[in-house]
Subunit: 205 residues, 4 copies
Amino acid sequence: MKRARNDQAKGDRKQDILNCAEELIQESGLENLSIAQVAKKAGLAVGTIYLYFPKKEDIIAHLTIKSREILLRKFVESGASTADALEKVSLMLWAYLNFYKEHPFYHQLVSFYETNAGLEEPEELLVASRKITGYVIEVIQSGKAQGNIHPDIDESEFSFLLWASAVGVIQLIDVKSSIIQTQLHKGTDAFFSSFIDLIIRSLKK
Amino acid sequence: MKRARNDQAKGDRKQDILNCAEELIQESGLENLSIAQVAKKAGLAVGTIYLYFPKKEDIIAHLTIKSREILLRKFVESGASTADALEKVSLMLWAYLNFYKEHPFYHQLVSFYETNAGLEEPEELLVASRKITGYVIEVIQSGKAQGNIHPDIDESEFSFLLWASAVGVIQLIDVKSSIIQTQLHKGTDAFFSSFIDLIIRSLKK
Amino acid sequence: MKRARNDQAKGDRKQDILNCAEELIQESGLENLSIAQVAKKAGLAVGTIYLYFPKKEDIIAHLTIKSREILLRKFVESGASTADALEKVSLMLWAYLNFYKEHPFYHQLVSFYETNAGLEEPEELLVASRKITGYVIEVIQSGKAQGNIHPDIDESEFSFLLWASAVGVIQLIDVKSSIIQTQLHKGTDAFFSSFIDLIIRSLKK
Amino acid sequence: MKRARNDQAKGDRKQDILNCAEELIQESGLENLSIAQVAKKAGLAVGTIYLYFPKKEDIIAHLTIKSREILLRKFVESGASTADALEKVSLMLWAYLNFYKEHPFYHQLVSFYETNAGLEEPEELLVASRKITGYVIEVIQSGKAQGNIHPDIDESEFSFLLWASAVGVIQLIDVKSSIIQTQLHKGTDAFFSSFIDLIIRSLKK
DNA sequence: TATGAATGAGCGTTCATTCAT
DNA sequence: CATGAATGAACGCTCATTCAT
């Protein structure tokens, strides 16, 4: 479990700690993360962790930034194959579902800050957030230029709505997939597909 | 030995306990609710709480049912003034926003079970849930009959999507209202109004 | 689970309570017996149990008497088929092993009082105890009369030693049967058989 | 904040904790041992105890190992004065009685694991146990070699039987010495002496 | 006799954070 | 920079016993 201190040439203690925390969350969930565990896994003393991250929450915040960045990358990649803005939106949402399925752990982090009121988001986190909405805004703008997204749509606002409702739908899938199955006789994908339709319909000219 | 609240509500210990729990959640959030606190506030011994609620979760479940029932009532009331299904949907969503604003605490409970994977919802809770989706389904059906809601829409599925996205949007408002204000130069209501437009647009024939 | 109060024609509340306690111990062990459970199973109020058994231990004591009586019966029956005293001792010990196997629950009670120092045995319990040693004494006396048990043996003392060592051996079997299996390559019965041999050898003329 | 025992034994917190636990068991019995008490007596915080003993049972296990080791030492010492195996057995049993009398508390620990089914003995405990049976086996083997112990005796099995029955007899003495006195008009030692005779008789050629 | 609501100290265990070294 | 022992309040939950009715 312990990890030789010299692994990464002394350089990036901070990264090292983050990596260990990540593995631990992946193994046992965000709610079970304890500093003592992180210290043990990192081969450091508890106090040392506090040298780099004065509050436990700081670790979570950093990991959340990373998650948001991964998600952004997925979004950008998803749209690379087409020039059509509507299709980009659709592909972006599919990318979000896949992100949730492939990295439930990163998704947990992403929705943590969306879900817990009272958490002060440090500037760095906000930056990561803005990059995502920024990308969505761009796509919608290009759609308006292309003429297949309705010109009345406020792209900034829509990017928030899109994000919020997508988070809500993924949460429902996460928590109640069995109910969806039972009551709608549908799998997760089909359900999510309908959500995408809903969004596209509301974007179209 | 203490029996502070003996006078008031002495007939209904269970209610009394629930009320105290409610106040505590309101003061310090669901995640900080502890049985010891409830007992103290209720002027009862810890063991006494367990007489009425064998598991801590039972308290939360009861409060959640209550919240869902209040919400359902709001939904039904909101639609009473009109026969138009689309308008009913719109009013219902406004009612949801008001519910959140007036009872942020009840909203926290409502979204708790939507948000935490792995929570087994007891039958009673599911019933309360189904009543809500049931109402939404009815409204959409009537809209299809009236001819102003698109006939291709699956009312069951849509009720889930509506619910999930509304929860997501309210969460965003709850957690990031200041960001909305700063970046969109808009208040909560205007933002939510756009969400309603989005939904209505996607429902229309 | 509740048991109509009139079952046994109002007569024997005490017996009723005892029976319920017995079932509960059988289901979940002596250490998990709680008065609340007993009350529930008996369809009585907690306070009522305390009318009949002022201390929880009183219930256990009564059940222990019963266990001892059952054991005595087994002893007597076991020896009925032969007149030979040594054989009677042997059969008695086999009967004890069977008693343990068939009624682990009664055995738990029997050894409870043998094992827990500081328990005041009420007179009734002592009587049950004395009946058992009394029987053993009789058997040994008859063996001395028959001439196949060594005349120097003090039958009273031997009955205590027999009892104590048998309890010890059964405990070992109860707790460490797997170790016996692993280390001696022997089953419980073969092991116990050696114990009987040991006893018989030490009794013989 | 307290640091009562800081002076004495400050080097060995673990020992300190063990000592305190020992005293507490001596005062109020194994079944009443609680971590809170230990912490209080040791002048430490509860959490500190868990730094050294992650589970309450670990404390008991450590103390049990110690007890077993003391007992083994007594056994070995007891036999040092003679080469005769039978005499060694006899002296060993006397040593066991003395161990019980001098350290009733250690004896309680020794019999705890013999008496409570379902307790998983960790390897270290088993080692201590095996050392004891190992010694007994040796003695019996040497007796067979000397020709004064019956060659048919299986020394492994006999060591278990000896141990189990001795535990049983000591338990009887522990729990019922007054009854022995009353009914046999004999002291503990005389009674135990008869037990030794019984064992020796069953070993002899 | 009978009730059953109420008690409250007690349990084992966790963990973010501190601070003397 | 780094350590890691120490803290101690807090947690959910149990249960023998009492006592006013």
